[in-house]
Amino acid sequence: MSDPDLPVGVERRSFDGETRLATRGPPVYGEPTDGEWRAWGPERSKLGGMLELGFDAGLSGGETVLYLGAAAGTTVSHVADFAGPTYAVEFAPRPTRDLLDVAESRDRLFPLLKDARKPETYAHVVERDLDAIVQDVATRGQAAVATRNARFLADDGRLLLAVKARSEDVTADPDDVFADVLAELRGTYEVLETERLDRFHEDHLGVVATPK
């Protein structure tokens, strides 16, 4: 059942006759469940979409993770299911209220109401040499956010980034936006893999990168 490309703790399982990604943990948002397993929908989660599309995320399970743009905790709940200590940063109070419920039931998920553009406001809490940063922030300057947060990542750590073209410039061609973001990222990171997530998320680019 387990898939060599997927982290330990993430499996493809059958829900109502459909094979879907799944992790083990308390249900969060009314997703289909099968015993302890709960489905991880690629259309609801950019990281789920990246794994579904076969990105080599460099995750094997048990990682220490910083999640930027945790929102209400849909994706971060799955990350905390298979990863180790997981720091979840979200800027808006309303979704953070839901994120707190997700964190209550996961004892290695640490919710932080912080601005991902200002890492110095949480560097006294989030540890260094992390295995992975997952970034899904809907703000202008997504490359700058990734660059500023590189300080948390181990030398061989991975940045798993979903770039939303419309957050940068709604009027520009997404391809141009992606090219600009990647060019800025390359100042700090070596980009390992990119692919459009359009099958699940319109005008999004999935990126895997590692610090230079």
Binding site: P93, L100, L112, L113, E120, V125, E127, R128, D129, T171
Partner: protein, 290 residues
């Protein structure tokens, strides 16, 4: 890299009693560090926790407690608080600039290299004064700098509070413009009740009344001019852009006041409309080149 962080780069748990959740809350919410460290190891070495597992247990308890308090506090913020904050921010900026100007003028008569503006005041404030008059110049500059810093703090507060008060409006307009629109209307409810044509010219009252008394053309935009969608659109299309933006801002204010839920579709609609308006310039350029 040294093993021990210096005092300016301490973890949230340093000098903390593990039982004192309120102190932990304050540290997590207000503390900062330039660089992250291996906090779990340092916490064990400094005796805050007996093991990394215990450290993570305490971190879990502390982050949940702190974040819950902060969410509660931020969600309690209302439109009137936001209005106070944005008005205070403007007052601080105006007074800081006035004082800095006065200080620079005075400093120019005492020091050779006095620069203008807040940056100049910052330099003067750092000087060692010689004699009573210089002490007054340096002190005055320090007050101007303090006010400028207060203005920045207020701006950060507006950035935090506006999305809690009006999530749609703050996302569409940016926190500062959202706060200004609410302040000009006198509150979120009055703003929600205004027609979009009024929202379009909020902040351009002088021009509007000049127009109504027949002395001037109608204003195309008020404070929403500061929005990128208006300012970044070529002049002949700015009226359309302002009208489209004002229409969606009015809807956003209504969504925020009457439901409080974030409505993605509003934002998508506006982006599409803006893309259409801006495509006019592009297509005319193509025509002109043909």
């Amino acid at each position: 890299m040294t093993n021990e962080p210096d005092a300016a780069n301490a973890g949230w748990f340093s000098d903390l009693d593990p039982e004192d959740l309120d102190a932990a809350e304050a540290e997590i919410l207000r503390g900062s560090a330039e660089e992250p460290e291996d906090w779990p190891r340092i916490a064990v070495e400094s005796g805050y926790a007996d093991s990394e597992e215990e450290y993570y247990d305490r971190l879990h308890e502390a982050t949940i407690h702190a974040t819950r308090q902060e969410v509660r506090e931020r969600e309690r913020a209302d439109d009137q608080q936001l209005i106070h904050a944005v008005r205070a921010m403007d007052d601080c900026e105006r007074v800081a600039n006035e004082l800095a100007e006065r200080a620079a003028e005075w400093a120019g008569s005492r020091f050779d290299d006095a620069e203008l503006g807040i940056a100049g005041a910052r330099e003067i404030a750092a000087r060692e004064p010689d004699g009573d008059l210089e002490r007054r110049v340096v002190s005055l500059s320090a007050r101007a700098v303090d006010l400028a810093d207060e203005r920045d703090e207020l701006s950060a507060t507006v950035d935090r509070v506006a999305p809690a008060v009006a999530p749609n409006l703050a996302d569409m307009a940016g926190p500062e413009l959202a706060a200004r629109l609410i302040a000009l209307a006198g509150g979120l409810e009055p703003l929600a009740k205004k027609p979009s044509g009024t929202v379009q010219v909020l902040g351009a009252e002088d021009a509007l009344f000049a127009h109504l008394s027949g002395r001037a053309p109608s204003p195309k935009h008020g404070i929403i001019y500061t929005h990128e969608f208006v300012r970044g659109t070529r002049p002949e299309d700015r009226g359309s852009a302002a009208r489209a933006l004002a229409g969606k801002l009015a809807l956003a204010a209504r969504a925020d006041h009457y439901s409080g839920e974030y409505r993605e579709v509003l934002h998508e609609d506006l982006r599409e409309r803006m893309a259409t308006i801006r495509a006019r310039a592009a297509s005319e350029e193509v025509n002109a080149n043909e």
